[in-house]
Every structure is written in structure tokens, then in C-alpha cells.
């Protein structure tokens, strides 16, 4: 059982706590055994002999024992829970921290709901086993072994005969462990799937409602819910087949002792006193078995959960700092892309042999059809993915040799899907630079043309946004994201459709304000609207992952290619209208159209 071994290593840091809990548990159990003895003393010597002094003393001892037992019990429970909770706490922290550095491919592969279910349900299963099951399993074992020794010491022949069903019992419990494990695996997996359906439903509720697909969602969930029910019933069946059988077999000890013991007594092989004593001790064979079959259930459940947790821990990030990776605080933003190709994990090509040089301070625009590889290309710069072949240099250093945190802190990104965190606007803007001053934050907001809007909110910069915050329009979110990227003062600024949801007028204003910001920075802009890209130093046209055209606006427009075609589509028709609009405007002095 490889997983069991690995689970046990989780206990290592708290081994002292666990041992302490175990010792206390032994003491607690021992106290239980001493009680009847003291009671016997009280009755035999105290009451029967009428010695009140002695009696008082014994009662006092018994009371002291009660106090001690309570303390043992309390602290045993406390330390045990503490060990379990600490393990869960550590495990969650470790997993969370680990996932922070995992590559996006991982998150595409494993559903959010699955991860959430593992972080709560599966960790709980492990906690219950390590923090409760293990110690008690040990207790069961010790009790069982001690009982065996005692019984054998009393009369080995009778004892061996009485224990005749025990090997069968051990076999049945061992088999139970093997049978119940896949059942638990299935249950944990189902729970992960159920959580995934739930998570997707809640995050996509807008679409669900828009299409009035609640019935479909209900049946989707019902399917998972039902599967969960069935898997659990399946598990219960295995339990129902085993537990009572184990009880029966352990009850056989008692039965055999009574029958054979009777025979032994009649034959004069043992005294009635010995028989009575064995009758009392036999429970030490019975309850550990009953209890441990339940504990083994806990253990198997934990073993079923283990691979789900370890799978995450064992996924190593594809993107990590190489030994000797350098910091680049003074990055200028000279980018060289050499023979870079990129294939998606499923093998479909994303970029094919891209070569490109961008000088510091240049503004480069990338345009191209849907799915032509624009976002993929810019995603390579902060190393969201590694190129399949070729290399990328920044200021002459291969980015593979630059520390990730250093590289990414010098690259500011505004992504297509604007994601804001459930926090205040202020914290969201300062996301890339925690502790930024209010002045810096406002400044960034002003450039992104969002300051006035924020200032007009009743809560101002302290207004909550994100999951639970006020509803912002797509354009407002994008502008906050722009402010967030600007604030980090990056050497390289990547704007991936950063203003697609912003109205044209505001876009113009952002562009005007950005002009200042773009100075001394390398800027990569992805946009559909040519008005956004027209003034770039260099325009790249991507098609199916290849650069098919490069040049300035004026150069490209004369070539009969993708760019000129798009230009035609976007502007030709409009210029006529503009003419018309101009004619209307004529004489009003408002005509400023170029």
C-alpha cells in the first residue's frame, strides 16, 4: 500500500502529538480497567468489613481516578484532533501554494469543482484517518494482543480453541479493506464530479437562465446526485456484508468460550473462577474487532482520497526558474523572437516558426483572424507557456534564464477576459503592486480613464467589485485592468484586446492618455479595430500561427494582403459616410476629420 505509507509521512511533523495522544489514550483505557478493581476493593474490604476510614480513602482514590481519567480523556481527544487538524491545515496550505505555481495546462485539465472537492472533502477524509483512525486502530491492536496473551496464560488449550474463528475474521476484514477501497474511490470521484457540475452551474448561471435551461441543469445535477447515492449504497452493501459477519465471528469467541469453557469446567480442567475471568476478558477480543472494521473503513477512505491529493502535489510546474536564473530589474524591453513554434498540448500547432525583433520603446500591433495565434504569441513573453521550439530573448537574455517573478513583474498585461478579484477597486488596481500609494493608484486610474467613474461612486476607491461587488460594465472592468497593468510600471506592456468593450470615444481618450505612458516602453497591442493599431511602429499580421505580413500602416495598406482587406472593410465604407457627415457638418466649423 504505497499510498498508506505516504499518508503516514504526513503525520511525521506531529508524531510527538500523536504519541502523546496515544499514551493518554492508553492511560484512559487503563483507568477504565482499574475501576472495577477499586470497586471490588471498596465492597470487599470497605463495606463488608465496615472500615469507614479505609472506605473513605478508597472512595477518595476512586474520585481521584475519575478526575485523572477525565483529564486523560480530554487531552487525548484534544491532541488527537490537533494532530489531525494540523495535518489538514498543512496539506491545504501546501496544495494551495503548490497550485499557485502550476501551469495553465493543469487548470484546463482538472476542473475547478474537482479541486475544490479535493481541498475540502478529500482532505477531511485523510484528517479523520490520521487524526482519529490510526491511533484507535493501534489501540485496538494492542488490546487484542494483550487479551490473547492473557487468555493463553490462563489456559492455552481453551484459549486456542476459543480463538479458532479469529484467522477467518482477520481474512474477512482484510478482504473488506480490498473491496471497500474501490467503492470509496468511486465515491470520492463522484463527489468531485458533483462539485464540478455545481461549480460550473453557479459560475455560468447567466447563460443557464438566458436559455431557460434550468430543467437541463437540474437533470445534469440529478444525474450526479443519483450516481453519488448509488455509489454510497454500493459501499453500504459491502459494509452490510462484512460488519455483521465480523460481529458474528467475533461473537463466536464468546459462544465457543461458553460451550467449551462449560465442558472444561465440568471436566475439572479449569475452575469456575477462571471461566468467569475469561468470560470477562473475552470482550477484549470482541470489541477491537468490531471497532477496527469501522476504522479500516476510515483508512480505506483515506487511501482512496490520497491519490486525488497527491496527483496535485505531484504535478510539477512546466514553467519554473532554472538554477541560476537571473533577476532583471533594469529591463529595457528589447525583444527578439527566434524561430519560435508552439504546439498546444493536444498537438495542434499554435505558432509556426515566428521570427521577430522589437526594439525598446517600439509599439507593435498584432492583428489576425480569430484563432490565428495572437494571444498565444504574447502569452509566450511572460512564459505562460514555453515555446515548443525556438527561443525568446529579452535584452539579449533567453527568458528561460530569467527569474519568473522578475520577468513577470516587468511585463504588464491587460488580458481579454478581464478578471477582477472580490476586493475593493483600490486593491484591484494595486494588485500588481501591493502597498502602492493612493496617488499612484489614482494616477493609473486617470490614465485608464476610470478615475472619474470611481470617484463618483458612493464608496469611491473602497467600492467592492468582483464576485460579490457592484456590477461593472465590460468596459469599466477593462479600464480597471488597464490601470492595474499601468501601475506596475512595466518595461513591456501587453494589451490583448484591452479596449474591445470600451466605447470608441473612451478608447480614444485612453489612447491619448496612453501615449505618454507608452513612451520608453515596449508595447504589444492586439486589436481588431484598425483605428487602434494604425499608429503602431510595426504591424504584424498573423494567420494560422504564422506571420504573413509585417510593416507600418502605410506600407501594409499598399500591399494587397490581409491588412489592406481589413482596412477596406473597416474604413472604406465609412469614409464615404464621413464625407456625407462632413458635408452635413460643413459650415458648422466642427469638421476636424482627417
Amino acid at each position: 500500500m504505497g499510498y498508506l505509507k505516504r499518508l503516514l509521512t504526513l503525520l511525521k511533523p506531529y508524531i510527538f502529538l500523536a504519541i502523546l495522544a496515544f499514551v493518554l489514550l492508553l492511560a484512559f483505557t487503563f483507568a477504565d480497567y482499574v475501576f472495577p478493581y477499586i470497586l471490588k476493593l471498596i465492597i470487599d474490604f470497605g463495606i463488608e468489613e465496615g472500615n469507614m476510614d479505609y472506605l473513605s480513602k478508597l472512595v477518595a482514590i476512586m474520585f481521584a481516578l475519575v478526575v485523572a481519567r477525565t483529564l486523560f480523556g480530554y487531552f487525548q481527544g484534544f491532541f488527537m484532533e490537533m494532530a489531525g487538524q494540523k495535518i489538514a491545515y498543512d496539506l491545504r496550505n501546501k496544495l494551495y501554494a503548490h497550485m499557485q505555481y502550476l501551469s495553465f495546462g493543469f487548470f484546463d485539465r482538472i476542473h475547478t469543482g474537482q479541486i475544490m472537492s479535493r481541498m475540502t472533502g478529500d482532505i477531511d477524509c485523510i484528517r479523520e484517518f490520521l487524526g482519529f483512525g490510526l491511533i484507535n486502530l493501534l489501540l485496538c491492536f494492542i488490546n487484542f494482543a494483550a487479551t490473547v496473551v492473557i487468555l493463553i496464560a490462563m489456559n492455552w488449550k481453551l484459549a486456542l480453541m476459543v480463538m479458532f474463528p479469529t484467522p477467518i475474521l482477520v481474512y474477512i476484514i482484510a478482504r473488506f479493506g480490498k473491496r471497500i477501497n474501490p467503492a470509496w474511490k468511486e465515491i470520492r470521484e463522484q463527489m468531485g464530479k458533483l462539485t464540478s457540475v455545481l461549480q460550473e452551474n453557479v459560475t455560468g448561471i447567466r447563460v443557464v437562465k438566458a436559455f431557460a435551461r434550468e430543467p437541463l441543469e437540474k437533470s445534469k445535477f440529478d444525474k450526479r446526485n443519483m450516481a453519488n447515492y448509488h455509489e454510497n449504497i454500493k459501499r453500504a452493501k459491502i459494509e452490510a456484508e462484512t460488519f455483521p459477519l465480523a460481529e458474528l465471528l467475533s461473537g463466536m469467541n464468546f459462544f465457543l468460550l461458553t460451550i467449551l469453557g462449560g465442558y472444561f469446567v465440568i471436566r475439572g480442567l479449569i475452575t469456575i473462577g477462571t471461566f468467569m475471568a475469561m468470560e470477562m476478558y473475552i470482550s477484549g477480543l470482541i470489541w477491537p474487532v468490531r471497532f477496527s472494521s469501522w476504522l479500516i473503513n476510515l483508512m480505506q477512505r483515506a487511501i482512496a482520497s490520497a491519490p486525488r491529493i497527491f496527483e496535485i502535489m505531484d504535478t510539477s510546474p512546466d514553467i519554473y526558474d532554472l538554477p541560476g536564473a537571473v533577476e532583471m530589474p533594469g529591463m529595457k524591453g528589447h525583444i527578439v523572437i527566434e524561430n519560435v513554434s508552439y504546439n498546444f498540448p493536444d498537438g495542434t500547432p499554435g505558432l509556426k516558426d515566428v521570427n521577430l525583433e522589437i526594439l525598446p520603446g517600439e509599439v507593435v500591433a498584432i492583428i489576425g483572424g480569430t484563432g490565428s495565434g495572437k494571444s498565444t504569441l504574447v502569452g509566450l513573453l511572460p512564459r505562460f507557456y514555453n515555446p515548443t521550439s525556438g527561443r525568446i530573448l529579452i535584452d539579449g537574455v533567453d527568458i528561460i534564464n530569467i527569474k519568473l517573478s522578475s520577468l513577470r513583474s516587468r511585463i504588464g498585461m491587460v488580458m481579454q477576459d478581464t478578471f477582477l478579484f472580490s476586493d475593493t477597486i483600490k486593491e484591484n488596481i494595486a494588485y500588481g503592486k501591493p502597498g502602492a500609494s493612493m496617488e499612484e493608484i489614482e494616477n493609473a486610474a486617470k490614465i485608464a480613464q476610470i478615475h472619474d467613474f470611481i470617484a463618483a461612486l458612493p464608496g469611491g476607491y473602497e467600492t467592492r467589485v468582483g464576485e460579490r461587488g457592484i456590477g461593472l460594465s465590460g468596459g469599466q472592468k477593462q479600464r480597471i485592468a488597464i490601470a492595474r497593468a499601468i501601475l506596475t510600471d512595466p518595461a513591456i506592456l501587453i494589451l490583448d484586446e484591452a479596449t474591445s468593450s470600451v466605447d470608441t470615444a473612451t478608447e480614444k481618450e485612453i489612447q491619448a492618455a496612453m501615449k505618454e505612458i507608452m513612451k520608453n516602453r515596449t508595447v504589444l497591442v492586439i486589436a481588431q479595430r484598425l483605428s487602434t493599431v494604425k499608429n503602431a511602429d510595426k504591424i504584424l499580421v498573423l494567420k494560422d500561427g504564422e506571420i504573413v505580413e509585417t510593416g507600418t500602416h502605410d506600407e501594409l495598406i499598399t500591399r494587397e494582403g490581409f491588412y489592406s482587406k481589413i482596412y477596406e472593410l473597416q474604413f472604406k465604407g465609412q469614409e464615404e459616410i464621413m464625407k456625407a457627415a462632413g458635408e452635413i457638418a460643413e459650415g458648422t466649423g466642427e469638421r476636424e476629420v482627417t
Partner: protein
């Protein structure tokens, strides 16, 4: 407020929630037969436990003492039969318990989930997704844990306690009276710890929900987190939330352990007292030694079930902390619900009218729309234009009836929207949003979302028009390609196209396009627009677009600013007017 995720936890602590308990127990009602079987089995088990010592005594007295092997064999057979009966009873019991608990989990999850599907956006706006998820998974689990072990042990312990109390009163009522004086102490103890215990359990649920909320958000925002190298900061934040969970668990543990062990302690200390008093009684010849031995023997057995009962009680409190959270969801009434006499719209023409609509997401704080009135005739194309945050998307939210207006009304084909069956209306409407949510599953599954019974030709047609076909064909698996969670395998432009296909396949009477092609390249956009022109003949459409070129052929353009309509007319009319639209239009072409 320990952290930002606590903000929505507005549960009010009520004291003694008997009602809550009763309400939870109602979910057990459908399983009363199982519970009955369970109880019968438990009771039989108890009786057997009581009978067994008698049999052994009989064997000792009649068999061993009198050296009668036949008695031993006879009684042995009885023991064997009892054991086998126990085997069968055990199976029945385990099955009954599991059918009850698993059925209960299934029922509650189903009810809560189905209820959330009916809830309005305001419910979802106000809560992180992770917390809603937590209630349906972890909280339901907590209730079932209680039912699973709690009910059986409740039944058996109560029976044991009653039995023992009856017996000790029969043995010696004076000592028994003294013994029962500890009972009020128990009750007092449990009552004292009750509030602390409830609060502690509530905190554990809340903190686990916080963990879920944080997890969900982290996973959704992973790209931003990594782009901004915020990992360290995030890890610290999570550790804090995690530590709160740890602490609240330890807190609950302390209280739980206290109540278990104090109950035991009081019971055992009581025994000491009884022994001492009993010894005095014997000295005064008020009772016999045998009686005292028997008596102590019985009260010895009294505190185990009492302590077990206090465990059950604690479990119940823990479960109630969860029920409260679940019932809170169930008790949230959908704001937008069908009125009882809502009409089913068989077919709609697509006439839309806004009549003096006022609306705000938090009306007390801020109105987003003020006095909006406009009319769209069937088959018309209406464009909403205005700066970001003007209220365009809010108009669409109202049109979809995601929210109801604060004042005023929205008419569809002359009916007030509030009198139309929601689903019957929404089935006739399709929308494509700027932020298109794509479900995990294949490309085909996603298109089918718009019309589950669409024929293959319909799917193909929709995919062709929206150019989904073009990129689908590039994948080895074509339409069956799994697009992964939130469609992460696709580019954002492709996701928009897929959302478009999904909307078209539904064959809507009204089509809403909110920046539907903002991430799509111009060529594809033009292609879609041309296709739409023929496709949308006779259908009403409402379009939001920032590129004014895409809307100039609209039948009506409505210009909105700061929640009001400031201009309305055709492209030509508005240009002639030289107002806001005109300025907006010119601005597009300025450099």
C-alpha cells in the same frame, strides 16, 4: 470581520432552534419505514445484550455447577441462534441506515440545487460561487453525518437510559433519587455549553465556505495571479483563511470534548458519591450489600449512554449549524418568479416596449436607469449606443428579465413581462454577451445548449454561419472536441463565435447581441453580419456595439448616457441632429 469573505454571512443567531431541528427532521419522514426498521433492530440488539448474561448465568448455575453438559449444549444452541439472528439484523440495520442517510443527502441536495436554479441574479450577485457550492456539498454532508450515526445512537441510548433508571428505582428508590439529582447538572452543563458549541460549529462551516470561496476565485483568476506574480501574497491570504478554519475546528473540539468529558465526570463522581452514601446506609442497616453492588453495577452503566447522548447532542448542534445555512438558501424567495396566472407565450411577434422604467441593482444607493421608454416593433433592429457604464447592459438584463424594474414596466407583444411565464419567454430569446460563458464538454454540446433537440443540419447551419465550423474542423476531433472548462481550449474570439452559434441554433424571435463580436476579427464579423441580415428578417434584435459602423443600418438607434435616453432615431436622423450621436460618430474617425 476577519476577512472579506465573511461579508455576506448575515446569519442571525437564534437561540434554541427547536424549529430548526424539527424542520431538519422532516426530511427523514419519507424514510420512516427505514427508521422504524432501524429502531426495531437496535431494540432487539439491546434486549439480546440484556439476555446474554442471563443465559451465561444459567449455563454456569445449571450446567457447570450441576455438571450437566446437555444444558450447556442447549443453551449454546440458543446463543448460536442469537448470533445468527444478529448477523441478519445487522445487515438489515446497516442497509436501513444507509438508505436513510444517502436518501436524505440526495433529497436535500436536490431541493437546494433546484431551488437555486429558480433564484434570481441578485442572490448570485451577492455571493461568491464557492460559498453556494459549500452549502450544497459540505453543509449537506454535515447533516447526514448526524443522521447517520446520531439517530441510531439516540434511539439506543435513550432506551438504555430509561431502562436503567427504571431498574435503579426498583432496586432502591432513595439512592435512585440521589442519583437522578445529577441529571439537572447534566442539563445545566449542556445548556451552558450550547451557545458556545453552536457558534463554534457555525464558524467551522463558515470558514470552510471561505476556503471554498477563495479556492474558486483563485482558480478562476489564475492567469491574472501568475501574470502579476502575486503568488506569495495569495498564499499568505489563504493561510490566514485556512488558519481560521483550523482555529474554529479546534475551538469546536474543545467545547465538544468538554461536554463529553464533563458529563462523564459528573456521572462518575456521582457514582463515587452513591458508593459512599450507600456504605453509610449499609452501616445503618438501611440497605443490604447485595443491593448496593447491584445498584452501583447499574449506575455504572448509566453514564456511558449519557456521555454518548451528549455526543449525539453535540452532533445535532453541529448539524443544525449547517441546516441553518441550508434553510437560509431555501427560504430565499426568487425575486423573479412566475405569477400564478402567468401566461404561456406560444409564439411571440417580438414587440418590445419599455414604459418609463427605473432600475438600480441597489435601488437605495444608486439608480442605473432612469425613465427609460422606447418601443421596438416586431422585426426591427434596435441599437443601444453610449459610453461604458451608461446602462446598456442593464437594459438587456431587464429585457431578459434577469431583474425586474424598480418602477415602470416592460411589455412584450402588449403583455406586461411580469405576467408572462419566464421560461416561455426566454425560450424565444437568445443572447450573445461580450463575456461568453462556455460550458465544458464538446463544441457540439455547447451549440446544443441553445436547443437540446437540434438536428444535425441545424447545428451545422449555425456553425457555418458563425464560422465555428472553420475552427472546429481544424481540431482532429472536430465538433466532438472537448473545449475544457470555460472553453479554455478556445481563443476568446472563438468562444464568442461558439456563443453566437449557440444563440442562433435556438431560432429565437428576439436576438440580443451585447458586444457579441468584440473579440472577433473584422472579416469574420462582416461575414456574420451579412449572414444575419437575411437570417434575422422578421426577427427583433437588440444590439449593443461600440463600433458604430456595425449598427448604422439599425432601424432605430437609442443613445444612452448616465442611465437616460438622450437621443433616438435612425443613423441619418441622428447625424442630422448633430447631437451626442453625431459627436460620438465623428470621434471614431479622429486621430
Amino acid at each position: 470581520m476577519a476577512n472579506i469573505y465573511d461579508a455576506d454571512e448575515d446569519l442571525e443567531k437564534q437561540s434554541f432552534d427547536f424549529k430548526l431541528f424539527v424542520r431538519t427532521m422532516k426530511y427523514i419522514r419519507p424514510y420512516w419505514k427505514n427508521v422504524l426498521v432501524m429502531s426495531a433492530m437496535v431494540l432487539t440488539g439491546l434486549i439480546i445484550n440484556l439476555v446474554e448474561p442471563l443465559i451465561v448465568r444459567y449455563i454456569v448455575d445449571e450446567g457447570m455447577m450441576k455438571k450437566d453438559l446437555a444444558v450447556i449444549i442447549k443453551m449454546g444452541a440458543v446463543l448460536l441462534i442469537i448470533s445468527i439472528a444478529g448477523l441478519i439484523g445487522g445487515r438489515i440495520r446497516i442497509n436501513a441506515v444507509n438508505r436513510t442517510t444517502q436518501g436524505l443527502i440526495y433529497d436535500i441536495r436536490k431541493e437546494v440545487f433546484e431551488h437555486t436554479q429558480e433564484l434570481s441574479f441578485r442572490f448570485f450577485d451577492g455571493r461568491p460561487a464557492g460559498k453556494i457550492i459549500s452549502r450544497i456539498t459540505n453543509d449537506v454532508q454535515a447533516i447526514s453525518d448526524f443522521v447517520n450515526t446520531g439517530i441510531v445512537s439516540f434511539i439506543s441510548e435513550i432506551i438504555s437510559i430509561i431502562g436503567i433508571i427504571v431498574i435503579i428505582f426498583m432496586i432502591n428508590y432513595k439512592l435512585a433519587l440521589i442519583t437522578v439529582t445529577v441529571v439537572p447538572v447534566f442539563i445545566l452543563l449542556l445548556a451552558l455549553l450550547k451557545n458556545a458549541s453552536e457558534n463554534a460549529w457555525t464558524m467551522t462551516r463558515r470558514t470552510i465556505a471561505n476556503i471554498n470561496a477563495n479556492m474558486n476565485e483563485t482558480l478562476q483568476g489564475m492567469r491574472v495571479i501568475q501574470a502579476f506574480s502575486r503568488q506569495k501574497h495569495n498564499i499568505e491570504r489563504f493561510e490566514k483563511i485556512n488558519r481560521e478554519n483550523y482555529k474554529s475546528h479546534m475551538h469546536a473540539t474543545v467545547i465538544q470534548l468538554l461536554s463529553w468529558h464533563l458529563v462523564e465526570f459528573v456521572g462518575m463522581a456521582g457514582t463515587c458519591g452513591v458508593v459512599w452514601l450507600g456504605a453509610g446506609m449499609i452501616a445503618r442497616n438501611a440497605t443490604s450489600l447485595g443491593t448496593l453492588v447491584a445498584f452501583t453495577n447499574y449506575i455504572w452503566r448509566l453514564w456511558a449512554p449519557l456521555s454518548a447522548l451528549s455526543k449525539v447532542y453535540n452532533q445535532a448542534l453541529s448539524a443544525m449549524a449547517s441546516s441553518e445555512r441550508i434553510f437560509q438558501v431555501l427560504d430565499t424567495k426568487p425575486e423573479i418568479a412566475d405569477s400564478p396566472d402567468a401566461i404561456e407565450l406560444e409564439d411571440i411577434k417580438g414587440e418590445i416596449e419599455f414604459r418609463n422604467v427605473n432600475f438600480g441593482y441597489n435601488p437605495e444607493e444608486r439608480m442605473v436607469l432612469r425613465g427609460i421608454s422606447f418601443k421596438v416593433n416586431p422585426g426591427e433592429v434596435v441599437a443601444l449606443v453610449g459610453p461604458t457604464g451608461a446602462g446598456k447592459t442593464s437594459i438587456i438584463n431587464l429585457l431578459m428579465r434577469f431583474y425586474d424594474p424598480v418602477e415602470g414596466s416592460i411589455m412584450v407583444d402588449g403583455h406586461d413581462m411580469r405576467n408572462i411565464r419566464i421560461s416561455s419567454f426566454r425560450k424565444k430569446v437568445s443572447m450573445v454577451l461580450q463575456d461568453s460563458f462556455i460550458f465544458s464538454g464538446s463544441i457540439k454540446d455547447n451549440i446544443l445548449y441553445g436547443k437540446p433537440d437540434a438536428r444535425d443540419e441545424e447545428i451545422l447551419e449555425a456553425a457555418r454561419i458563425t464560422k465555428v465550423l472553420d475552427f472546429a474542423e481544424r481540431f482532429p476531433e472536430g465538433f466532438e472536441t472537448d473545449v475544457e472548462e470555460r472553453g479554455s481550449k478556445l481563443s476568446s474570439g472563438q468562444r464568442q463565435l461558439l456563443a453566437f452559434a449557440r444563440a442562433l441554433v435556438a431560432n429565437p424571435r428576439i436576438l440580443i447581441l451585447d458586444e457579441a463580436t468584440s473579440s472577433v476579427d473584422t472579416e469574420t464579423e462582416r461575414h456574420i453580419q451579412d449572414a444575419l441580415k437575411t437570417l434575422l428578417k422578421g426577427r427583433t434584435s437588440v444590439v449593443i456595439a461600440h463600433r458604430l459602423s456595425t449598427i448604422e443600418h439599425a432601424d432605430k438607434i437609442i443613445v444612452i448616457d448616465e442611465g437616460r435616453i438622450i437621443e433616438e432615431g435612425t443613423h441619418k436622423e441622428l447625424l442630422d441632429k448633430r447631437g451626442a450621436y453625431y459627436r460620438l460618430y465623428l470621434k471614431q474617425f479622429q486621430d
